[in-house]
């Protein structure tokens, strides 16, 4: 076997919207062996076909105690591999047992029913932004509050608990920290959630996500609380970062922004292309699996027991679409991997789509002259627990 290269796992970028320096070169040419900063050796797969295979083939397990990912500042894994309700660390029938009831709560038609409420939240926040006047920070004005308010309502957190819930969630997901800090915040959030779950159980209602999990499933309290935290995490950070990153990509490509401005009704297709391109440009190692049998991927034999990571830079693979390295908002939607693939594909994808479509469309309809107050390259960016994004987006209009 050839000597393993050290994986450039970092977020040093020449340009904040482009992949980490050296990453594309390091992963090109099929599965490559890499050493992670914690010393674990793993394969890195970055082709479109290879990533689809790894994420959908049941011979690649998500059970991964000792995973190569670095999650906290002190390099510790955040999660106990046997954490009840850790939907991203179980496979097959066990995974289906948790996933299916949740899928019901995120059905396309349910998400479409939420659209008027999402629109209302967007409008209210943009009203406030306009009233306060330019310059404004788009992150705190819209990107951050929108998904966290929507997920809290979808879960069914009562209005009187919303403030505490949002503050605790912000502590948990808003910054990196040590494992001890993470656990302390998670415990506090569980303390906020437990009485809410108990009240829904007593009431027997299933018209929101907590009620549905509390009354229509066989989930234990531990599973239920952890699933709520997981849904909150996903709703809190990822969508908000992407709404910001989409806007920044459009600021950097005025010809593309013009396409959205000309026909805002195409926001659904525009969001698919922005998702494909933005996730591809994030680069960096993404999801991790472990082979349970020998499997060939892109002509390379991966042995049982080997770690495998996939890079969603696969979204820029020409095998997916022509001129894949370019953002083209006139392109029809393609089967991109922006929400992952396989049985663990993003559960909230359809909610994220609705928020991103409504948020982006309304933003540029309300503020057709919206532009960055400082160059995109001079804004502050951060790596939080889960994703990468702009810490602040100062805008004028």
């Amino acid at each position: 076997m050839t000597e393993a290269a050290v994986c450039p796992v970092h977020h040093e970028r020449d340009h904040p919207l482009q992949p980490p320096i050296g990453f594309a070169e390091a992963v090109s040419g099929g599965p490559v062996r890499m050493v992670w900063p914690n010393g674990v050796e793993a394969w890195m797969v970055s082709s479109y076909a290879g990533v689809r295979q790894v994420l959908s083939d049941s011979r690649f397990s998500t059970r991964k105690g000792g995973q190569p990912e670095m999650r906290t500042d002190d390099g510790e894994e955040v999660l106990d591999p046997d954490q009840p309700g850790n939907i991203n660390g179980i496979d097959g029938a066990e995974h289906m047992r948790l996933r299916r009831p949740l899928s019901r709560g995120f059905m396309v038609k349910r998400m479409n029913e939420l659209r008027p409420r999402i629109q209302q939240i967007v409008n209210e926040h943009l009203d406030v932004m306009e009233a306060k006047g330019a310059p404004a920070d788009l992150v705190t004005s819209l990107c951050l509050p929108l998904p966290s308010l929507v997920i809290a309502e979808l879960l069914g957190v009562p209005p009187e608990h919303q403030e505490l819930f949002q503050a605790t969630a912000g502590d948990l997901f808003g910054k990196n920290g040590s494992k001890d800090e993470y656990l302390a915040h998670a415990t506090r959030l569980a303390e906020v959630l437990t009485p809410i779950v108990e009240a829904k159980r007593a009431a027997g209602t299933n018209d929101d996500m907590i009620g549905l999990m509390a009354n229509d499933t066989d989930f234990s309290m531990d599973e239920l609380i952890f699933l709520c935290i997981g849904l909150l995490a996903a709703g809190h950070e990822t969508t908000s970062n992407f709404l910001g990153l989409f806007t920044l990509h459009l600021f950097e490509k005025p010809d593309q922004l013009e396409i959205l401005r000309r026909d805002p009704s195409r926001a659904d297709v525009v969001v698919e292309e922005l998702m494909r391109y933005t996730v591809g440009q994030l680069g960096g190692p993404g999801l991790t699996r472990r082979a349970t049998e020998d499997v060939e991927v892109d002509g390379v034999l991966i042995r049982a027991g080997d770690w495998v990571s996939v890079s969603l830079m696969a979204n820029l693979d020409e095998a997916l679409c022509p001129r894949a390295e370019q953002l083209d908002l006139e392109r029809d939607a393609v089967s991109h991997l922006g929400f992952g693939f396989g049985p663990h594909q993003c559960l909230g994808a359809n909610l994220a789509r609705a928020e991103l479509q409504i948020g982006l469309r309304t933003l540029f309809e309300r503020f057709p002259n919206l532009r960055p107050a400082v160059p995109v390259t001079e804004m502050a960016y951060r790596n939080d627990m889960i994703t990468y994004g702009a810490a602040e987006i100062p805008v004028v209009w």
């Binding site: 959908s56 289906m96 996933r99 299916r100 899928s103 019901r104 709560g105 995120f106 059905m107 396309v108 038609k109 089967s335 992952g340 693939f341 396989g342 049985p343 594909q345 994808a349 359809n350």
Partner: protein, 64 residues
Amino acid sequence: MTVRIDQTGCIGAGQCVLAAPDVFDQSDDDGLGIVLIAEPSADLLPGVRDAVDRCPAQVVTLEE
């Protein structure tokens, strides 16, 4: 041309509904994919092929 969903592997992601809303829906009972038109007309086939491609659980099939 027959469209099928293998419900044993369906995760209820709803990608088929987005790709071909006339052909697919999700069950109100469990959120899993259901086929509304098992033998779709030619004009619906591009959407069905898109659904086959996009389905994350790869349980949508079109027998041609």
